[in-house]
């Protein structure tokens, strides 16, 4: 399983999984996007660099960058083509592929990424991420 959505009265909570750190970042990005739009095609490319203070902060800033791109560049993620995470500097670089926001019907609008119950951790060699999105 790449990710799953958990019960939450007003907001959206997901848990993403991955065998490596890169994989769990990719799956978290997918869970984030699929909470708004199920399928996105498109060939627009976007390059991002994101920094954080620790791993949780890096995850938060990564997802917030994806949200920022929706409002400011009209870019909605289809998939993460490539991602490199520098664990020493808590810095990542990613190649994104996506499409124009205006071509899609959104199920919901994410207002913000939150620190509520935010988890980024390794369990028996597998990474788990949990995020609550304010919608």
């Amino acid at each position: 399983m790449k990710f799953e959505y958990l019960e939450h009265t007003a907001d959206i909570k997901f848990r993403a999984y991955g065998k490596g750190l890169e994989k769990v970042f990719i799956n978290s990005a997918l869970a984030f996007r699929k909470s708004m739009v199920k399928k996105v095609r498109g060939r627009k490319k976007q390059h991002i660099i994101v920094e954080g203070k620790d791993l949780e902060n890096l995850m938060y800033n990564f997802l917030e960058e994806l949200l920022f791109l929706i409002d400011t560049s009209g870019f909605i993620l289809s998939r993460v083509k490539k991602i490199n995470i520098d664990l020493k500097k808590f810095k990542l670089e990613a190649e994104l592929v996506g499409d124009r926001v205006s071509k899609y019907e959104f199920m919901t609008e994410v207002k913000a990424i939150t620190y509520q119950e935010l988890i980024v951790r390794e369990e028996d060699g597998k990474w788990v991420v949990q995020v609550v999105l304010d919608v």
Partner: protein
């Protein structure tokens, strides 16, 4: 928890709570509220420094980010804190109501054309930018520091559009220098957009009048067509909230807090003041947003109905923090009231109430869930005594969005509403499922509680006719 009297429950002070909690609910509503962790959140808020009186929750309360939705808390200006979680991400999410000179029969045969025209004119959903182009950073600053008045000066709308609303459509302590570049970038293309989620634009009809005297002062009568606009500060406000949650987390941390989401800063501190300055910018953006949508709604109606007249009845914020005066232990003092999913409900005489309404109290605008009734009530002295001048803000969610999408078919919701004579336009059928009436508490119950308690009094009930869902 102890029942004090009908519809009033007290959560007794224990552990680190500085004050007791108060929940205003009927027995039926209480059962819904107890399904999630709302009561735990009321207790958590009671632990914050400088809180005065009670940590309160209105009958539409449910679990939220840090503070419960429906939560009201007032803080001492010297010892107290301000918390972005006590305002919410959608700063100055609120309601604007316009009153028209049309009657229900005037719409006959034109409903579809009107609904489609409104749906075309008012951008809704995600990614539909606004036709209103803000001219760079300079004009953005003007808008967020001056609110509705700036737009009126530019020729959008009339003076009464800001004189007759909360705070005259502008929180005066707005300080654009406290706003991040990222927040500006998220907001600059979004002035005059509804957004998504539970936001909407409805054409409604006055279906019942409860208080003829006050209805007359408000200029309302049975059969009259009104327009209700529900939206907030869009990506701009969301980013201001996110920015300051991060800054407060870094500066003060969450070590002494029962929950990391309650991060805050002393009201007196630089960061506390900065947040209030930036939050006020977002609040003013939201006022301007609802106002601009109102101006476009007017244009659509004018194109379809000759001799059409429209006035702004009122505009309320239901996600905000404000400094207001209250009698505490016989002294009149300034406090910082957080209302998160709660509406101000000032009674007669308060100087904050526009002159035209000051004799009776301010209009209180409470929307129901999609397809159900909404209410206009009037503010009371009782609210000032019990809840720092606050009342409910809506129906209040009971079912999660995910559960709603799983269990409810949006297309069926649309059909059912149509069979009741309510026409709906929506970006997606999934969003119809998320906002279906059954995922909310019954607005009749919520309004019943605030009316019985005297937190605000019913004036008229409104029935939806046309709905544009965000």
């Amino acid at each position: 928890m102890k029942k004090i009297s009908k519809n009033v429950y007290e959560i007794e002070k224990e552990g680190k709570m500085n004050v007791p909690g108060r929940l205003y609910a009927s027995e039926k509503i209480l059962k819904d509220i107890q399904k999630d962790k709302t009561i735990e959140q009321i207790k958590n808020v009671a632990m914050l420094p400088g809180i005065i009186g009670y940590s309160s929750a209105m009958p539409d309360a449910h679990f939220g980010y840090g503070f419960p939705i429906g939560g009201v808390a007032a803080f001492d200006l010297d010892k107290g804190i301000v918390s972005p979680g006590g305002v919410g991400f959608d700063i100055n999410c609120g309601i604007r109501v316009l009153k028209t000179n049309l009657k229900l029969k005037d719409l006959k045969g034109k409903e579809k054309e009107l609904l489609d025209s409104l749906n075309r004119k008012i951008p809704s959903g995600v990614g539909r930018g606004s036709p209103f182009q803000i001219k760079g950073k300079k004009e953005f600053k003007e808008i967020v520091e001056n609110g509705i008045e700036y737009l009126v000066e530019k020729g959008y709308g009339v003076e009464d559009d800001y004189l007759n609303v909360d705070e005259e459509g502008c929180l005066k302590n707005a300080d654009f220098s406290k706003v991040s570049e990222r927040a500006l970038k998220r907001g600059i293309g979004q002035l005059g957009t509804l957004g998504a989620g539970n936001h909407f634009l409805e054409v409604q009809v006055v279906d019942e009048v409860f208080d003829k005297k006050v209805a007359k002062v408000f200029g309302l009568e049975k059969g009259q067509i009104l327009i209700m606009i529900h939206c907030g500060s869009r990506g701009f406000g969301h980013q201001v909230a996110s920015d300051y949650i991060k800054l407060m987390d870094e500066k003060y941390g969450a070590k002494n807090l029962p929950d990391r989401q309650l991060v805050n800063a002393p009201i007196k501190s630089k960061l506390g003041k900065d947040y209030l300055g930036a939050m006020s910018c977002a609040a003013n953006f939201a006022f301007a947003n609802r106002h601009l949508i109102g101006v476009w709604v007017k244009e659509v109606f004018e194109g379809l109905f000759s001799k059409f007249k429209v006035d702004t009845l009122y505009d309320v914020c239901h996600n905000v923090a404000k400094v207001e005066k209250y009698k505490v232990d016989d002294n009149l003092i300034d406090v910082c009231v957080h209302r998160k999913g709660a509406t101000r409900s000032f009674g007669p005489g308060r100087k904050e109430v526009p002159l035209v309404y000051r004799k009776v109290g301010q209009p209180v605008l409470i929307p129901g869930s999609m397809g159900t009734a909404s209410y206009i009530l009037v503010g009371t002295k009782k609210a000032e005594e019990l809840t720092f001048g606050s009342t409910a803000h809506g129906a209040g969610r009971v079912m999660s969005r995910m559960a709603a999408i799983r269990n409810i078919d949006g297309k069926k919701v649309k059909k059912r509403l149509e069979s009741e004579g309510i026409m709906v336009r929506s970006g997606s059928s999934k969003s119809l499922a998320e906002e279906a009436p059954e995922v909310y508490k019954d607005v009749e119950d919520v309004v019943g509680v605030v009316h019985d308690l005297g937190l605000s009094k019913k004036v008229v009930r409104l029935k939806p006719v046309l709905v544009v869902k965000g």
